[in-house]
Symmetry: C2
Subunit: 143 residues, 2 copies
């Protein structure tokens, strides 16, 4: 079956965190995302280029009665994953910068078409910085 | 503190699912994402425009020894969230289409600058289709 409609654009990415303030600090002050809005204790909404990264306190969002916006309930526990795209030639600079911020580079993987560095946010989510080239996506679409 | 480097592009979004085959069917056959690669029982990687949507079986990815790629372990349980961007004028068409596919529209919310429809994937993740306008992002950046 070929779908008659297709989604072609991811708009919002959700991450679940145990400490919203620490997560806000990490994603805005270390990675440079822009604060869009927040509800203390529930969520921090961040802008990343033309996308939104939504940080949620799962303890709150799992509770159906907690949603100030009336959105359907959701919430996860554990360690999630997100990757951000940079240009391949910037990755060494990112490594140096993150280490200077006290961030441990947990792993570096060299793929066929590029490489990835992995580190943890304050809630232990696995964060990756890599080039879109690793997926066969041309960097000049992004940068 | 102003970070000296900034990420501006989300590249990979992770969702955790309980049934990978059902999730693959849902995201490719209903929503129209493109299969990129998969490891049966572990993950299904999908392309969505210039981004990747990564579906993981958390039971497998939580196990550090399971990663065929050697990536750091991660994994979440519960109900996650993702939103896809469409043009606001397409949302009625999406509603009709999803209902015709047997998908229940759990909620529709009218915001100040657009609206969202919410439904569930087969693992109960909360999926939203909306216009980037709800975040003050111009549709013509995307479409």
């Amino acid at each position: 079956m070929n779908p008659t409609l297709k989604v072609t654009e991811v708009l919002e990415v959700a991450l679940y965190v145990t400490d919203l303030a620490a997560a806000e600090n990490f994603y805005t002050k270390i990675l440079g995302l822009t604060l869009y809005s927040k509800v203390v204790g529930r969520h921090v909404f961040l802008r990343c280029g033309t996308r939104m990264v939504l940080l949620f306190n799962a303890k709150t969002t799992i509770d159906a009665d907690s949603g100030p916006l009336g959105v359907p309930q959701h919430g996860m526990v554990g360690e999630g994953h997100i990757a951000f795209a940079v240009q391949d030639h910037e990755i060494d600079q990112w490594k140096e910068y993150l280490i200077a911020q006290g961030i441990n580079i947990e792993k570096e993987i060299h793929w066929e078409r590029g490489r990835s560095i992995y580190f943890r946010d304050p809630s232990e989510n696995s964060v990756e910085i890599t080039s879109p080239a690793i997926w066969g996506i041309k960097e000049d679409i992004f940068f």
